[in-house]
């Protein structure tokens, strides 16, 4: 039975210890709350669902605080070190993903495959110019694709497109037509081009694009310094028409609290890439200047079990770990009841290929499975860190939830600084998350296919891989959906990833910002504006 996302459960029963530990991270923010000490968490007002909309002022400058990737960050969209916020403003893709998760035209106006799903023909938009005046043609599109699959560039999307694209078989028969001959059939190919690494750069500009940022997007680069500040200004010749704003100024701030303080003091209008913890979010919401908007289902949280490590080599143990916990309880504790259950399936609810398949919680069955696998009691360490405010509360809630099934979890808090190098994919059980916004095919291939470098559970199952291949080679969309749904069932039943929930990102922004919209991590740069 699928659990209804909106179902109102009984008031959350939060074990006292969990609540205390979960709140510890909010201490710094609590200092900012004079006079609110008397109202408990129950009395706290609900956080707003969406940003204000309406008619904006003509023009204006938006100031944005962002965490810098590092001093090595670049404007090269294909790089793993790209300065994220700039990309969607400076560049366009061939294909984009709409709010419902369907592919939609961007620089390509239409596309079709041959019957085998091998040869793809893209018709390109006419009359589009790069910021430096050059005309956009198929040569630029071909160059962009060849570059992404170049092993020397080591683009994150290279691992996805590399097996499909042969640089020698990307053709440009006309300036307005791009033909890609794939090496294996793939009816989902356009969806894979919606990734943010696939923004189109001008032909031959690979060596300079990291600092010039020349694209076809609604803004052009005025200045940029890696890890420092930057400014982008409206590009009046943008093919969709000029953006609402005159300019956006970007400021790098490494410290989370510094970003929040800058927003509260009115020095910036928006904080990007920052999931505010609930205590801080309430402080922001209570201020006169700033408020909160949600980026809905922006991330999914995972407790990956490393399937190559004991005791998770045994599929029965993995199944028991999933049956033992109650996602509702984790959502109540870690997300204060505001998330959507994941049912151990990372494909976001209500996206085109999603299945509502779910397995009910059953601690008794979990206990029986563990006994069958030879574990009377199972003791495990679950690693977490302050990297994201939800990790530790999620880990503690999981621990409390599975105790009933005879599973003893010890939560180990480790340094956020080296979390993704020392803990992720190294420790058998840990807490992590992913940003949504990738199509189902990419998600399943990238995170669950055997041998993929992002396969965090090291799960390898030939039957699963075959299902994905079959889906990609299936022309009929309904049939293809069924195959992807079968693959999701395998992830739920046999895979190593526990996916308790999808969560909104709590974004801090000024009350003067209108029409803010972000899906996954993509801003709507065209329409965002300021109150007149």
């Amino acid at each position: 039975m699928p659990r209804s996302p909106g179902a109102e459960g009984a008031p959350p029963r939060i074990p006292r210890r969990t609540a205390l530990l979960g709140g510890a991270g909010a201490l710094g923010a609590a200092v900012l709350l004079p006079g609110c000490a008397s109202s408990g968490p129950r009395a706290a007002p609900a956080l707003p669902e969406a940003a204000a909309t309406g008619a904006t002022a003509d023009g204006g400058v938006l100031r944005m605080a962002r965490p810098p990737a590092s001093q090595a960050e670049t404007l090269d969209p294909a790089s793993s070190l790209s300065a994220y916020e700039y990309l969607g403003a400076l560049y366009s893709r061939l294909v984009r993903m709409d709010a419902e998760g369907h592919t939609a035209p961007d620089l390509a106006t239409g596309w079709e495959a041959d019957d085998a799903g091998l040869v793809w023909t893209f018709r390109l938009r006419d009359g589009v110019r790069f910021h430096d005046g050059r005309r956009f043609t198929s040569a630029d599109a071909a160059y962009t694709l060849r570059r992404i699959v170049d092993p020397d560039l080591a683009s994150p999307q290279g691992t996805v497109l590399g097996p499909l694209i042969d640089p020698g078989r990307v053709h440009t028969p006309e300036p307005g037509v791009l033909v890609v001959e794939l090496t294996t059939p793939n009816f989902e190919f356009p969806a894979l081009l919606t990734n943010y690494n696939c923004y189109v750069v001008p032909d031959g500009d690979g060596d300079t694009i990291g600092s010039t940022g020349i694209g076809t997007g609604p803004f052009r680069l005025d200045s940029f310094s890696p890890g420092g500040r930057g400014r982008i200004v409206a590009y009046d010749d943008h093919w969709e028409g000029p953006p609402t704003l005159d300019a956006i100024e970007m400021f790098s701030m490494t410290d989370n609290q510094a970003r929040t303080n800058a927003l509260l003091a009115g020095q910036v209008d928006l904080i990007s890439q920052t999931n505010l913890d609930f205590a801080t979010a309430r402080v922001v919401e209570a201020s006169d200047r700033a408020t909160i908007a949600r980026s809905v289902n922006a991330q999914w949280y995972v407790l990956p079990m490393l399937t190559t490590a004991e005791p998770f080599t045994d599929a029965r143990v993995r199944q028991a770990m999933k049956l033992a916990y109650d996602p509702r309880h984790i959502i109540d504790v870690a997300l204060q009841g505001t998330g959507v259950p994941g049912n151990d399936n990372p494909v976001p609810p209500d996206t085109p290929y999603w299945t509502d398949y779910a397995v009910e919680r059953d601690p008794e069955r979990a206990r029986a499975l563990l006994a069958e696998a030879g574990h009377e009691r199972l003791s495990m360490e679950l690693y977490t860190s302050s990297y994201d405010p939800v990790f530790t509360p999620m880990a503690l809630a999981y621990r409390d939830s599975v105790a009933e099934a005879g599973i003893d979890i010890t939560v180990r808090n480790t340094s956020a600084d080296s979390y993704y190098t020392q803990i992720w994919m190294q420790k058998p059980l840990m807490a992590t998350y992913w940003y949504t916004g990738r199509p189902a095919d990419q998600l399943l291939n990238q995170v669950f296919r055997s041998g993929s470098s992002y396969n965090e559970t090291a799960w390898a199952d030939d039957a699963f891989d075959d299902l994905l291949d079959a889906a990609r080679a299936t022309a009929d969309e309904d049939r293809r959906r069924t195959l992807y749904q079968d693959a999701q069932r395998m992830v739920v039943d046999e895979g190593g990833a526990m996916t308790p929930m999808f969560a909104d990102r709590l974004v801090g922004l000024s009350r003067d910002v209108l029409n803010y919209h972000e899906s996954g991590f993509e801003f709507d740069y065209l329409n965002i504006g300021l109150r007149p």
């Binding site: 001093q71 310094s225 890890g227 609290q257 303080n261 800058a262 003091a265 080296s418 190098t421």
Partner: protein, 319 residues
């Protein structure tokens, strides 16, 4: 005297050298390297290999250290592994910015704490002492980031007169940074004042109870004169070392406060370098901080010598 100073200088050089060796070794012991740290969740084996190659990390650690030392001796601190910019130029800018805070903090903290310390010592166990001692104990106990947060709340958010964070980069002109210096200075002064007040108070109490002060009083000198001419120079002696330690702490230890205010100083540069395992930057900061530390201590010892006739043995009296 000259032998003493040269011996101190030699040990200073050895200290700085040792500091750089220890920092180098410590970074090697930290989990992850610059390539994995910078890539984070995108640290797939291919991406890490490509970045390591690009950053020249594939050479043995010892060899990279020798390279660094030979460069540093010639005054070349190398380039940052992350940004590719020359370390010396970046460090100089950040050092300049931190010095802005440091000089302001020292001026504010030392002046106010000596005045408060003397007052507390003179009014021992009476109400001025109780008030000063209680406040300094509170200042000592509250972490500087909490003080910083409260200051932001009061002076940036409730009454917006000062910026909460610095939006400028390290290369901004000094004039632009000045408004941003105020809050960090207050936050650091609160912490620093506490230690110096405690020390000054103790010294003043000791000195005021000593025989020569009693003699001075018996001669019929007024309290003001006794304190300024006789008690203060002696009382400042032990305080000097505490001030020196605090000055050194400022240069290396403002990391937390700089981070909260997003202030482009050495402290924030240090935090970012540690996070990224950017060895050349870390080494340069370590050497500079060690040098400042050693020089401050040396200056304090020489200052103490100048103030205390008993330490100037072997020198002929000036008068």
């Amino acid at each position: 005297m000259i032998v003493y100073i040269s011996r101190r200088l030699l040990s200073a050089v050895v200290t700085v050298l040792l500091a750089s060796v220890i920092v180098f070794a410590a970074v090697q012991l930290l989990p992850g390297d610059v390539a994995t740290q910078v890539l984070g969740q995108d640290a797939t084996p291919d991406a890490v290999a490509a970045l390591r190659e690009q950053m020249g990390l594939n050479r043995p650690a010892a060899l990279r250290f020798v390279d660094w030392v030979t460069g540093a001796v010639r005054g070349d601190f190398g380039v940052s592994l992350v940004s590719g910019e020359p370390v010396a130029a970046t460090l100089w800018l950040h050092l300049r910015n931190t010095m802005l805070i440091a000089v302001a903090t020292i001026a504010v903290a030392v002046t106010s704490s000596i005045v408060l310390g003397v007052l507390a010592g003179l009014y021992r166990d009476r109400w001025p002492d109780t008030v000063i001692s209680t406040l300094t104990l509170v200042g000592m106990s509250v972490p500087e980031f909490v003080v910083a947060t409260l200051l932001v709340l009061a002076l940036s958010i409730t009454v917006p007169v000062l910026p909460a964070v610095v939006l400028d980069e390290a290369s901004a002109p000094v004039a632009d940074l000045l408004p941003a210096v105020v809050l960090p200075t207050i936050a650091l002064s609160v912490v620093m004042t506490a230690y110096i007040v405690r020390m000054t108070r103790t010294s003043v109490i000791d000195v005021m109870a000593s025989e020569f002060v009693t003699t001075a009083r018996l001669k019929g000198l007024g309290t003001g004169r006794v304190v300024v001419r006789h008690a203060l120079p002696s009382a400042l002696l032990p305080t000097l070392n505490v001030i020196a330690m605090n000055v050194a702490w400022l240069v290396g230890g403002v990391a937390v406060v700089e981070n909260v205010f997003n202030y482009p100083g050495v402290g924030r540069m240090l935090l970012e370098a540690v996070h990224n395992r950017d060895l050349p930057v870390l080494q340069a900061i370590a050497v500079v901080s060690a040098a400042v530390y050693v020089l401050c201590n040396l200056a304090a010892d020489l200052g103490a010598m100048a103030l205390n006739p008993r330490l100037r043995t072997g020198e002929r009296s000036a008068r």
